[in-house]
Symmetry: C2
Subunit: 323 residues, 2 copies
Amino acid sequence: MAMIPTKVQINEEGPREGFQFEKGAIPTARKIELIDSLSETGLNRIQIVSFVNPKAVPGMADAEEVVAGFNKKPGVSYVGLWLNDKGLKRAIDSNRLEVRGSVSLCASEPFLMRNQNRTMEENIPLQHQTMRMFKEYNVPVTRGAVMAAFGCNFAGEIPVETVLQVVKQSKEIAQEHGFKLESMMLADTMAWATPASIKRVVGAVREANPELDIILHLHDTRGMGVANAYAGLEVGVKTFDAAVAGLGGCPFAGHKGAAGNVCTEDLVFMCDEMGIETGINLEALLESARLAEDIVGHPLPGSVKTGGSLRAMRDKIKTAQAA
Amino acid sequence: MAMIPTKVQINEEGPREGFQFEKGAIPTARKIELIDSLSETGLNRIQIVSFVNPKAVPGMADAEEVVAGFNKKPGVSYVGLWLNDKGLKRAIDSNRLEVRGSVSLCASEPFLMRNQNRTMEENIPLQHQTMRMFKEYNVPVTRGAVMAAFGCNFAGEIPVETVLQVVKQSKEIAQEHGFKLESMMLADTMAWATPASIKRVVGAVREANPELDIILHLHDTRGMGVANAYAGLEVGVKTFDAAVAGLGGCPFAGHKGAAGNVCTEDLVFMCDEMGIETGINLEALLESARLAEDIVGHPLPGSVKTGGSLRAMRDKIKTAQAA
């Protein structure tokens, strides 16, 4: 039986998620301001841009400028996202990012068909091609990713067997190119997960693949983000993707109510209060969350940035008692 | 070891919580509209008003009109809140509410001092007085309530021993007047709880009082509401207070960021998807949540009313597959 971990790794995806999704242009300087602010919180892995077609995602047209402009903090990995050879080259050429590849499969064929116009079977040779590309550029591959692992707006329920099959395929693909996967990201891309399905799917994947660290990528569209993260902790998950202030959304979900990732500071708050080490300074992170809100110019979903931390409350109580 | 229950009871507190807390007058007719809408959702216990001093809580000045005006649905208990003899008499005189008393204690002395200007010890004779009042009016008492059971903005952490002591006192107070408590509400009045403390406190209270059903009253100020409810389910809690759309706040918390109860429809969504029976029609409840938002005229915190249910998604998928 897995135990709640004593330490977790939180990967910040807010800048990339947010800048990609927000309507209206955010000035490059303000994007950099948020990244620099996040660098001071103790977060050690921050995804800052995606190298995608600026025509498709205008909010990311300044990716190179953002990467050139932020202050690199020692000890922090800055990463980007890309979807093809061209994007990967841009990431490498930026020269300031940690570039790591992954085997990325999808557990829902209708989702894949809709967004990439290919079947799950057709996706496999494409992944092999991607692996060859990573080898060519000397990009290490240690991570797998399964999209729509907990359900899909176009397929409905995803059988656990399908997820297990896709994880197996990911490992085989990596292996064929001499890579060895160390972690597997299970993404609740369209917010179908509940604590029960988190436990069921993570449990099955772990049992079949005890060598893999599980990473949970949770969207908060139906308010289950923190509860799902807690369920993940209970089955021993040690790594979570999250977005400061709950920035973001999912442009591919075919669903305008889709929300961003689970909110980083709410997750850090829960960990802090449960005695789980994150290495992140919550008060500093709350400043970043409020900055994010200021930058996008509308309220963002996170709760603790409004409700306040308990550390702040405890300090207030101490001061009052001393007076 | 407790098991996740197969069926839960959700007590709706949105109308009372919301109308009390919202700034600006809400027309009586619209309050009634929300109550009538909630009556059609399958909720079987709805707290609709509080009988408090209209000078202190102007939003509740029309309590009698609200009670006189709503459509009573058979099988639904409509309840009110009161803080003193005068309020209780108003509740009884309204003649349309289920009137039940409770022993209400607080686990935080600083909170009690601040809001009611009395110590925990001074509170006990007052509770005895209240019990005599209930007897006089033939009001049954089967429920205890512990405020600030998980932490306090003025006291900080609340030791589990204090909660246990307060629960013991509640039982003794009831017993002295010939009442027998059947349930104990543990309130996270100021949103200090995390899933870990829910399990710790509920576990200890249950172990010492196996005859009591535990009711959780969770505020969502720090985004932990749904996760805390899930932790409660995991330790066998079968009854939850909740507020449609997350209406409400806590005017006594000395904290302007304080949020309302855990959102009813988000909780129902989680239960539905985990196969836990609530007796509530989620789609109807989502309509009520959107109505609540329309009535207060600003966005309310619940997620599923924006994100949509999965039942709706599944229907869409079925229709698409059939086409």
